[in-house]
């Protein structure tokens, strides 16, 4: 099942190599939009934990058991990220996160073909409204939930 918010509390833990060394952490993330998107429509931004920034290069996303880099995802127009499938975001960080509370922000966006207004800032100049919009029109959403409530055990 899904937790209501984008960032799931279930699935938040450090990840370890075979020798038991923490090499990073993972968290589960779902789209709360009403439809799924093709992987090529996903835009991955910075993931921020307690002010520390992990860029898209530090992240891989696991969707339906397959792991992708953000670049790989942008080329895949026939693989669908279903809204009931939780993505696992795996982040490289030697030593992992410390025990205790963490403040997590995920930046991500999805490109929409049919309703730009929901995804991008609407131009104030009304003469822009019937002109074709720029190609990469979408808003990066900063999802920050459960401030100080995500706990690493």
């Amino acid at each position: 099942m899904l937790e209501r918010q984008n960032i799931q509390t279930r699935g938040f833990h450090n990840v370890y190599d075979e020798d038991g060394n923490a090499i990073g952490f993972q968290l589960c993330f779902r789209s709360t939009y009403y439809k799924g998107v093709w992987l090529s429509q996903v835009r991955v931004g910075d993931l921020i934990v307690d002010g520390e920034v992990f860029s898209r290069e530090d992240q891989t996303w696991i969707i339906n058991d397959v792991e992708y880099t953000p670049d790989e995802m942008e080329k895949l127009g026939t693989i669908h990220w279903h809204i009931l499938d939780v993505a696992t975001i795996v982040v490289k960080k030697p030593g992992g996160l410390s025990q205790g509370y963490h403040d997590v922000t995920v930046n991500f966006g999805t490109v929409s073909s049919y309703g730009p207004a929901r995804f991008a800032p609407q131009p104030k100049d009304k003469s822009e409204w019937d002109k074709p919009f720029p190609i990469e029109v979408f808003s990066m959403l900063a999802v920050r939930e459960y401030h100080n409530r995500m706990i690493i055990v």
Partner: protein, 295 residues
Amino acid sequence: MATPAIKGPKRGVSIYSYSGEWGVTMNLEDCFKDIYDMGATGVEILANGHIDNYPQPTNEWMDNWFRLCTKYNITPVEYGHWVTSRLYRGIMELNTEESLRMLKQDIILAHRLGFTVLRTKLGVIDWILTPVRNWREIILGALDLAERYNVCMCPEIHQPTALSSKMVADYVEFIDKYQTKNFGLNIDFGTFQNVWSKDRPPIPGVPEDGSPCSYPHELRALLPYIHACHAKFNNMSEDFQETTIPYPEIIKEFVDGGWDGYFLSEYEGPHKDEPGFVSEQLKRQHVMMKRILGY
């Protein structure tokens, strides 16, 4: 209770209404149970949202789909899908071949699931929702397949688009030109919205003086082209009135014009993720529609 074969407007629900609870507190069977409680008999699903493993559902999922339709006496009415024009970074309009690949995949899947109407969402190129420039080529290329599988592709006429707009005239012209039964219109009742919150920011294409995008009487000439409607609603009062859209006038046009098809409820108001809230709103809306229609 056996559903009488009604000719005229029939009541249905779009699963879109349950988006806030989907997968968290409700699954497909929960939605069907709720719809059955309302005595509604039609459903719209959004393929990209409600079909597990879309676009390749498993046989188990298909079996369950038909089991639910039978158990709850639900007719698959409308299959919502998208022709995703901005599929790849840097490309504004997906080429016609690839658009057709997507569209044909959905026509076949919709038919396999028993649907007869497709809510075919085309990509747009500007803020007032002008469709992609190659829409005619895309639709034309799919007409044969749609005829073979007996489905009708319908763009949704959605606020801010007006019934009197050039966009609608273009669609009607296309239908008349090709004399096709496999392309038509879905009217979203939001286009009739005539009550707004006071501090509404400007919406591109919506009249700024508070008047609606469209008036109910404009439906009359379009009825033959309409294959399903989104019974959009924003707020149902406790005494079963929609407070922002003139439902009695709208429904009267459909009844007087002898229109046959489904009104599919689409809730677009607040509190969608509060368990039970939407269900309550839907039940109020169906009390209203049942009173107006008499069934």
